[in-house]
């Protein structure tokens, strides 16, 4: 197995060195500020700032989107091996495929009508 993945590993090392070196250059070659004033270090908030973000309530739509993503992504993960082998499984495989997608379609219709797919 290492046969196939060794070239990927070599390439990945290159892919890691390049961004790391660019990051390093940004420290080494950067211009020093003539005066290190405090204002240069603060986060940019169009001038008005109330400090680092406190823990606050955020829109529940983010949470819903993430959960729906998980459900549908797991569906896809299960469908990929089935797709690779489907032509050997003939109608049995297609029936299982249909059953699986039918359950997910019911869930999808339910979620759609409940309004979880609308962003607010």
């Amino acid at each position: 197995m290492l046969d196939n993945w060794l070239p990927f590993l070599i390439y990945a090392i290159f892919a890691l060195i390049i961004p790391a070196s660019m990051m390093w250059f940004s420290f080494v070659f950067a211009t020093r500020a003539h005066k290190r004033t405090r204002w240069r270090e603060l986060p940019f908030e169009s001038g008005v700032s109330t400090g680092p973000p406190r823990v606050q309530r955020f829109t529940v739509s983010f949470y819903l989107t993430a959960m729906l993503f998980i459900v549908f992504d797991i569906e896809i993960v299960f469908l990929y091996p089935l797709a690779v082998i489907l032509h050997q499984l003939a109608w049995f495989g297609f029936l299982e495929f249909l059953f699986f997608i039918a359950i997910l379609v019911v869930a999808y219709v339910y979620v759609w009508r409940k309004g979880a797919l609308d962003w607010q």
Binding site: F8, I18, M22, A83, I101
Partner: protein, 329 residues
């Protein structure tokens, strides 16, 4: 076929540098094309036709001041752009751009790594790339960055579902997850964009959203949240995020070419890599064209499009393809 490790080493080095060069000239191409479409010249000062512009940009960015927001968490703040760019670059390792050649008595593969789960590897790396955006936004510890990164993440994650589903039809027809096998199958039978037109369209739109290109680039729009998750990054660090975005674009275009347009196959002359390059170039130009032409989508329109339109179309495409595959075989 197995090639000796030092050939892989040389190939990896060459390809990585070619990708960086391609990225550099994609920025040049974008600015030139956008300029021409907006009835003006693009950059034409730095070198003939502005061809040295990317290098000028590089020098400028590197020399910018290296500021650190006082509340930022240092290890994560530094790691975020590196993660983004690493995953964008690494995905290119499995894309086949040629048929393999015989040089002296060594065999050179047409891709860097021939792994059996290449397609899943690319999607997995794409999912990890989302981390770069989240960590970048959160590590900057500023309200704009945090909000921008959460919106970017929600957008990327929503379109990843459609992206992966649209490719299911190709996997059904190619009967393998290995990109080399898929390209060979297209060479043997038919280029997959013809039977999988719906899949191609869904993939195309999902691709634009995955790379946060206009018209799906609301999280980075200047008028909205300043610059989203890379508000607090200056100079080369911002450059890293931009590089990651463009290389993502190139990689996904290369993936689209591989999956739907038969990679390195071409009519008449067997010029593998050149055909590949030409097709990727056409794809990237189409993206730039779209950028120049279409106004930005509002965020809720964006999410609605991803969940309510692309997902059903991709699912129906998969079901119909499965039916036809089982019927015909």
């Amino acid at each position: 076929m197995r090639e000796p490790w030092w050939i892989s080493l040389i190939k990896a080095g060459v390809i990585v540098n070619l990708i960086m060069l391609a990225f550099a000239y994609t920025t040049w191409l974008e600015r030139k094309l956008l300029g021409r479409m907006q009835n003006r010249f693009g950059p034409n000062r730095a070198g003939p036709y502005g061809l040295l512009q990317p290098f000028a940009d590089l020098i400028k960015l590197v020399r910018k001041e290296s500021f650190f927001p006082v509340a930022a968490r240092h290890p994560l703040y530094i790691a975020a752009p590196i993660i983004s760019m690493f995953t964008a670059l690494a995905a290119f390792a499995v894309i086949p751009f040629g048929a393999g050649w015989q040089i002296w008595h060594y065999h050179v593969n047409g891709e860097i790594a021939n792994v059996s789960i290449a397609l899943i590897l690319i999607f997995a790396l794409g999912s990890i790339g989302v981390y770069g955006a989240i960590i970048g936004g959160w590590a900057s510890q500023s309200k704009f960055s945090l909000l921008g990164s959460m919106r970017t993440c929600a957008q990327l994650v929503s379109y990843e579902v459609s992206l992966a589903l649209s490719v299911l039809g190709v996997v059904l027809m190619g009967q393998s997850l290995n990109l080399v096998d898929i390209v060979n199958k297209q060479g043997a039978t038919i280029w997959f964009f013809i039977p999988q037109l719906a899949g191609l369209l869904v993939f195309f739109f999902a691709m634009i959203a995955e790379t946060s290109r206009p018209p799906f680039d609301l999280p980075e729009a200047d008028t909205e949240l300043v610059a989203g998750y890379h508000t607090e990054y200056g100079g080369m660090r911002w450059g890293l995020f931009q590089t990651a975005e463009y290389i993502n674009l190139i990689t996904l275009s290369a993936l689209a070419v591989t999956l739907f347009f038969a990679g390195w196959h071409g009519p008449y002359a067997p010029l593998g890599p050149l055909w590949f390059l030409l097709k990727v170039f056409i794809f990237v130009s189409v993206f730039i064209w779209i950028r120049a032409s279409v106004p930005r989508l509002r965020y809720d329109q964006l999410m609605r499009f991803g969940w309510k339109i692309l997902l059903p179309v991709a699912t129906i495409n998969a079901v119909v393809t499965a039916l036809l595959v089982v019927w015909i075989s």
